[in-house]
Amino acid sequence: MALIKARSRGINLADTFAFSGTVSGVGGITESDTWRITTAFQGNTIPITANWERDDTYLNSNMGTGMTQASGVFSFPSTGVYQIDFRLQFSSGGTDNDYILGKIELTQNNSSYAIIAQQYASIKNNASYQGMSATAVKRITDVSNQKIYFGTSSQDNNHYVQGNSSASYSYAIFTKLGDI
């Protein structure tokens, strides 16, 4: 006979449980999807429409249905609370740039977009590198109309964004934190 460890006053968290069935109703991360920019480019680009690929190398940990991407517009696979992490690696483009930025924009009507997160950096014209990271956590309730794109700009419109198809230099991570 199996030992029953549930007690009338609750569960002793010091006990060890070996589940052989399905545990439901406890939530957990069900979606994680990393997309990266494969190819470098220069200058202000809003939105970043081209050269996206899903991380497909070195034990990538994409899980769930995954995002859908078309011309740089990302659609969510299901409703829920999502964390969106966006990171860019910059290099200098011939002048000092007091600001270079990356940003995340969201539409709620599949048409007009608003900035929901952005980060500034600055860079000197000495072949130097810089990075930026922006994060947003949003409640997605309508996957048909609530979508994301990304952009970048700089003071002199001459910064470079680094891209790579083996490692992730400039990329976005979508994580579904839970249902709504």
């Binding site: 494969t38 190819t39 470098a40 480019f41 220069q42 202000n44 429409t49 081209a50 050269n51 198809s165």
Partner: protein
């Protein structure tokens, strides 16, 4: 960092995401694609352009 690939030249040809690769894991000239409908540099322009960048870098960094 010293330029090592024709992508280092292409990124300077014009701004924006005007180019990409039909196979991003194999970035050779034959796989170069143009997104914006503009002109595509010749392979010689790419190799000459890369060499010019390398020469400039070497000159600056001794």
């Amino acid at each position: 960092m010293r330029p090592t690939h024709i992508e280092d030249f292409l990124v300077n040809v014009r701004k924006g995401q005007w180019f990409g690769w039909s196979d991003s894991k194999n970035k050779i000239y034959a796989n170069l694609i143009v997104h914006d409908g503009g002109s595509k540099p010749t392979e010689k322009q790419c190799t000459d352009g890369l060499k010019a960048l390398q020469d400039a870098w070497d000159s600056a960094n001794g």
